[in-house]
């Protein structure tokens, strides 16, 4: 059974058709890259999959299934235990420590009056180590740089530990080293505990390196999907971005560059 699935999913943003009758599914172990131009519908898809954009006509038609059951038949808390979403561009107006913040990732697993256990704190510590923030627990989040803040939020998602990870531009604000460190940490989590991951990303070469599958959001609601090696080609990328893209081979890997 696929972990996450869409049936005949049609999405609009206002009058703009984003995808039409999309039948797509993701099984455990798959890592999906969602590629497309600005405004193509990548974020809308992730928000719909997470259930925070209500799927109601006329903006949304079709079905979204989480572990084989309609998304709306799950409670918010049940969804949060199974599916996590890293939002794009996020601002927090309140001061507070990194520890306070990341700890909230355990919320879906606690009763109303239950306090976090030392195991929960251990998970936080583990997640912070994986994003290189282990010495930041007492830092005020308002003093973090953009990249540090982004890594903290990824740590929060790791602490939530859902089986399906949706990430909206996870490498935003990250320097070259942390782009790879964070993606490796995420990929390791997926492989180690049989999860599935879907991420929007603008760096095709990062996608090629870390993802197994790709969804290409073309204009006019056309979506290509499949194994990444098959879907991503010079031709498909040139059509996708409406800009000539060329493949070059270096150190045995093919890289795509703007021509």
């Amino acid at each position: 059974m696929p972990l996450l699935q869409t049936q005949q999913l049609t999405l609009y943003a206002g009058d703009k058709l984003l995808c039409e009758q999309l039948n797509w599914q993701s099984a455990a172990g798959e890592i999906w890259a969602v590629l497309g131009r600005n405004g193509a519908g990548k974020t809308t898809l992730l928000h719909s999959l997470a259930g925070i954009r209500a799927c109601t006509a006329p903006q949304c038609r079709g079905e979204i299934l989480l572990q084989g059951k309609t998304l709306t038949s799950w409670s918010r808390k049940q969804i949060a235990q199974r599916l996590g979403l890293l939002l794009q561009d996020y601002h927090d107006p309140f001061p507070g420590t990194v520890l306070d913040y990341v700890l909230m990732g355990r919320h879906p697993y606690l009763h109303a009056l239950q306090w976090e256990t030392e195991q929960d704190y251990a998970r936080v510590n583990d997640a912070l180590i994986r994003v290189g923030l282990e010495d930041f627990t007492q830092r005020d989040i308002q003093t973090l740089s953009g990249g540090e803040f982004q890594r903290m939020r990824i740590a929060m998602l790791l602490v939530q530990d859902p089986q399906i990870l949706l990430l909206d531009e996870p490498v935003n604000h990250l320097d070259l080293q942390f782009q790879h460190a964070v993606l490796e940490a995420l990929v390791n989590t997926v492989n180690a505990s049989n999860k599935a991951m879907v991420m929007t990303i603008h760096d095709v070469n990062l996608a090629m390196r870390y993802c197994t599958h790709a969804l290409l959001f073309h204009d006019n609601g056309r979506v290509e999907s499949g194994e990444i090696e098959q879907v991503i080609t010079e031709q498909s990328l040139s059509a996708l971005y409406q800009y000539p893209v060329k493949a070059i081979t270096t150190s045995g890997r093919s890289m795509f560059i703007a021509d």
């Binding site: 928000h47 997470a50 259930g51 925070i52 409670s75 918010r76 808390k77 049940q78 969804i79 949060a80 235990q81 599916l83 996590g84 979403l85 939002l87 996020y90 927090d92 107006p93 309140f94 001061p95 507070g96 420590t97 520890l99 306070d100 913040y101 909230m104 990732g105 919320h107 879906p108 606690l110 109303a112 009056l113 306090w115 976090e116 256990t117 030392e118 929960d120 704190y121 936080v124 510590n125 010495d135 627990t137 007492q138 005020d140 308002q142 003093t143 939530q160």
Partner: protein, 338 residues
């Protein structure tokens, strides 16, 4: 950072928070003792302890237990109500500058309380009027801000500010047509006056209900501070929860306004100061707001009664005088944008 933090981060986090709450308890006790010493009859700190242990004259006993203690308790309860309402409103709007007064709820409440006073009503009727005004203002601001369906914090805040100035204009109008004889008491009431304190029970019960409800919802409040979308991804049913918090915050505000009139500063400043002091988690922030908000108003009222001999200043003036410098100091020291 000490190694203890690495070994048992949960326990050391608790310890840090409890330390701050302990300091706030001590501040509250000092506030009460000072409040019991202040007034026209000279009872020193030592005298207060004599009274508390039953070693003082009957007159001192009566002054402390029948006049000063009820007034200090009243100040404490009101301050606590305002600080909690502020803490709830700020998370609801995701704006550290928000409080129920900014949204015009106290304005609506004040308008109706003034109308009751002009009509010659007193006591409970004024309270009922003020309460009705608060609820009306609440429905108005949410109804208008919701409009075509979007319910963004910015829109809500702007609507609240516009309505608040509308209520302010109505208040000015009422004051300018009010009979001369009533004017002084009306203005005084608008600035916040604890000498209206009569019955402690309604405020106290409201405070207890508010504290219990907010503590039950404390982790949800933490999530709401992350914003609607993010909170939903961590399992919060946003729509329903926001309404619950709004109603609760309005109840707390209405009760505070009914009891003492307009004291706008406590709800704005207390939660923010506490956050800057490291208490972001609402499980700590709620009890801390009760203690700090209550203490702030106790100190302010004591100063208001004793700063200038034979002149009782409105307590609202004093809360601003105490709060503004602290707020600016912390803001600059932390060098953080709001």
């Amino acid at each position: 950072m000490t190694t203890a933090n690495h070994l048992q981060p949960g326990r050391s986090r608790h310890r840090r928070a409890w330390l701050r709450l302990g300091v706030l308890v001590i501040i509250a006790i000092i506030g009460f003792v000072l409040a019991l010493t202040a007034g026209s009859m000279d009872i020193g700190v030592r005298g207060v302890f004599d009274v508390l242990f039953g070693n003082a004259s009957e007159l001192s006993q009566r002054v402390v237990f029948e006049l000063r203690l009820p007034r200090a308790s009243h100040a404490f309860i009101t301050g606590a109500l305002l600080a909690m309402a502020g803490a709830l409103m700020q998370v609801l709007l995701r704006n550290p500058l928000a409080d129920p007064y900014v949204l015009g709820i106290s304005g609506g409440s004040a308008v109706f309380a003034l109308l009751a006073l002009i009509l010659g009503l007193s006591g409970l009727s004024v309270s009922v009027f003020a309460f009705f005004g608060a609820m009306l203002a609440m429905l108005l601001v949410f109804g208008l801000a919701r409009g075509a369906g979007s319910w963004t914090p910015t829109r809500l805040l702007l609507t609240g500010i516009v309505l608040a100035s509308g209520w302010g204009a109505i208040i000015s109008f009422i004051l300018s047509v009010a009979p001369q004889g009533q004017l002084r008491s009306l203005i005084f009431w608008l600035m916040g006056d604890l000498s209206f304190a009569e019955n402690l029970t309604p405020g106290f019960i409201t405070l207890i209900i508010g504290v219990l409800a907010s503590l039950y919802a404390a982790r949800n409040l933490n999530l709401l501070a992350l914003g609607a979308e993010q909170a939903a991804t961590f399992g919060l049913d946003i729509e329903r929860f926001r309404w619950q918090i709004y109603v609760l915050a309005s109840l707390l505000t209405a009760m505070a306004v009914v009891q003492v009139g307009n004291i706008g500063f406590v709800g704005l400043i207390v939660p923010h100061l506490l956050r800057l002091a490291g208490l972001r988690d609402y499980r700590y922030l709620i009890p801390a707001s009760v203690l700090a908000g209550g203490s702030l108003l106790v100190f302010a009222d004591t100063l208001a009664r004793s700063a200038i001999p034979d002149v009782a200043l409105p307590v609202g003036v004093l809360t601003a005088a105490i709060g503004v410098p602290i707020f600016i100091f912390l803001l600059y020291r932390g060098n953080k944008a709001l």
